[in-house]
Symmetry: C2
Subunit: 155 residues, 2 copies
């Protein structure tokens, strides 16, 4: 498989997992967190599927398409290892969905803090494995190969 | 449509157009040119569909995945507006396929030089419109929306 095909499958997995996550948390109130804004494509997809939610984004710097940059009140700039403890304090137990679009090593490093953000039944959709106490692994949508994306529910 | 979905369609158009172009030029000898290596995904796809061809890449700098970087003899670094005239001289009329993965303005700027690279019947697949004398526009593969990609044959 070429890198172009593999990239398409990864993007399709993002679409499918964001949509599944949005369904799973649709009855839970509260804002959504996007850890890692990047080019803003997943932010755009989350916004399209959850048009009435506040979305807070976290990243080192803003490098997204202008369409995909939230207002200043919804951006938290800095190393995620520094901004996340603060987010845990501010949002503790109130978040129905966190989407984690960071590298595998960073995800491993921050995984243990994710359950403290989530409300009961809240969902985490992550680009890499985030096994940790307090998160139960969920089945992936059809067509998403195991290991391509990860879905969890707060225990 | 979210930016993520739109990006997927663009990548699918790249796949389909590269595959169509590879079919169309399969009987024509000569090396392939990739103008704009970028992350190397389309290079990877071209290589997969034309495993026996030499592929020369042109870019300002190399920022591709290590898997997608050709050897030094097949890389031409520099502004395309400076390297292309040289390529036209070296490869004049011998290229069966040129894939142009550059911005729309750059493509407009260099379009007039593309026919001089191509052998008779040679194919140009481009990210943006490259209307110019000596190139005949070709039908896009099924499923590729008009304007998402462009295919031309040397007149």
């Amino acid at each position: 498989m070429s890198r172009l095909e593999s990239h398409i499958r990864r993007c399709q997995a993002q679409c499918a997992c964001i949509e599944r996550a949005a369904e799973l948390m649709s009855e839970l109130p509260g804002p959504v967190l996007e850890l890692g804004l990047g080019n803003g494509r997943t932010y755009s997809h989350i916004r399209e599927h959850l048009p009435d939610r506040e979305i807070y984004v976290f990243d080192r710097q803003i490098a997204a398409h202008p369409d995909c940059i939230p207002d200043d009140d919804h951006i938290f700039l800095g190393e995620i290892t520094e901004t996340l403890p603060w987010a845990v304090e501010r949002f503790a137990g109130t978040i129905p969905l966190v989407h984690v679009d960071l590298g595998p090593e960073v995800i491993r490093e921050i995984a243990a803090q994710i359950p403290s953000l989530l409300c009961p039944g809240g969902i985490a959709a992550t680009q890499a494995e985030a096994e940790t106490e307090g998160l139960v692994s969920l089945e992936l949508p059809e067509g998403v190969a195991p290991g391509r994306y990860f879905l969890y529910r707060a225990d």
